[in-house]
């Protein structure tokens, strides 16, 4: 699973000994997401990097679940730790979930309940491969995170890595339900 958070990253002057890789290892370990040669965890670390345009992260999943929201939340924590970051877009490569994940997704959506209406953001999304039926399928579910006119017009609860992670997981679930078996490439940018 790979994510690139693109925009503008101004490193803190004090940020010298740690980098995107070590921070991602530490953060995902602290949150219980990192598989460290033993039981537990969601992913094993592969690689990460950053420059003035943002940061990227690569992990290998160690279970059937595809924890995209956790992955992007961790990435967001890391870039915030590195410096002042303005997020313009996210590019993701996401494997298809191995099992029905809708119940978990609907539960996870509760994080965005009572959202601040001032944070609502318009988002453009591209999905490859794209199956036309996924938008209508996603519209059937009641949740507080995203509403869809089309993938060019998505209204997101907030422009944040966590919300984008939830949206990506929802898109992966919808694509899997419509026969996609290959990893999904998702690009989301502010409208």
């Amino acid at each position: 699973m790979v994510a690139a958070l693109r925009g503008s990253l101004e490193r803190h002057p004090r940020a010298a000994s740690a980098d995107a890789f070590s921070l991602f290892v530490s953060r995902s370990s602290a949150m219980g997401w990192l598989s460290s040669h033993g039981p537990g965890g969601c992913w094993g670390m592969n690689d990460a990097g950053s420059d003035s345009t943002g940061a990227w992260f690569q992990v290998s999943l160690t279970g059937e679940s595809v924890p995209v929201q956790a992955f992007l939340a961790c990435a967001g924590d890391v870039v915030a730790r590195l410096g002042r970051f303005r997020l313009d877009s996210v590019e993701l490569t996401v494997p298809m979930p191995g099992a029905d994940s809708m119940m978990g997704l609907l539960q996870d959506a509760g994080w965005f309940a009572d959202r601040d209406p001032r944070l609502v953001a318009g988002v453009r999304v591209a999905v490859d491969p794209f199956v036309p039926g996924i938008v209508g399928w996603m519209r059937e579910f009641r949740q507080d995170v995203a509403s869809f006119s089309s993938l060019d017009e998505v209204v997101l609860a907030e422009w944040s890595p966590a919300a984008l992670g939830w949206l990506a997981a929802f898109l992966a679930e919808a694509s899997a339900r419509h026969g996609v078996t290959t990893p999904l490439t998702i690009t989301a940018s502010r409208a």
Partner: protein
């Protein structure tokens, strides 16, 4: 992560994890996907009472995101209470073969680094893929503290089947 002890007053006894060679008249073994439950050959820690503690750490071998397509793995160390600033970290990649054996592939990545695995403080083992067949890989990571004797045991990372074959 592997927890290791420094052996007090003991000379360093190091050994190399050499390639395991099949007999000349045996069927030729070829790279292959590995059973996911294959365990690493971690050596036991044997010695007198510990003086200080450090950890050996590394990530799973993976296909590098930067071209050319390569199997890649990182290694680093984390200090507990050892009186050492630097360590020589070595990362040797191994490929799984159809005869059930692991073989060293490529030269070991080696770096003298500070504790923590932060910026510039990781060693990298990397082998360019000959093709993209699914193949079993793992890495063997050794940490030698600079200025202190430590035990020769190494961390063997978990097996990963990736789309890279050498």
């Amino acid at each position: 992560m592997r927890f290791q002890r420094i052996l007090a007053g003991t000379a360093v006894v190091g050994f190399a994890l050499g390639a395991l060679q099949a007999p000349a008249n045996a069927e030729v073994a070829v790279p292959a996907p590995a059973p996911v439950e294959t365990e690493g050959d971690q050596s036991a820690v044997v010695g007198p009472e510990a003086v200080c503690i450090f950890y050996t750490n590394g990530d799973y071998v993976h296909v590098s995101s930067t071209p050319p397509a390569s199997a890649s793995g990182h290694g680093w160390w984390t200090n507990g209470n050892c009186d050492a600033t630097l360590a020589v970290v070595t990362v040797q990649l191994q490929q799984y073969y159809s005869d059930g054996k692991w073989r060293n592939i490529g030269s070991a990545g080696k770096a003298t680094v500070r504790s923590g695995g932060g910026a510039g403080n990781r060693a990298t083992g990397r082998v360019t893929c000959s093709n993209r067949e699914v193949t079993g890989w793992r890495s063997v990571i050794d940490v030698d503290l600079v200025g202190l004797a430590d035990d020769p045991s190494k961390l063997t990372t978990a097996t990963r089947n990736i789309t890279c074959r050498r």
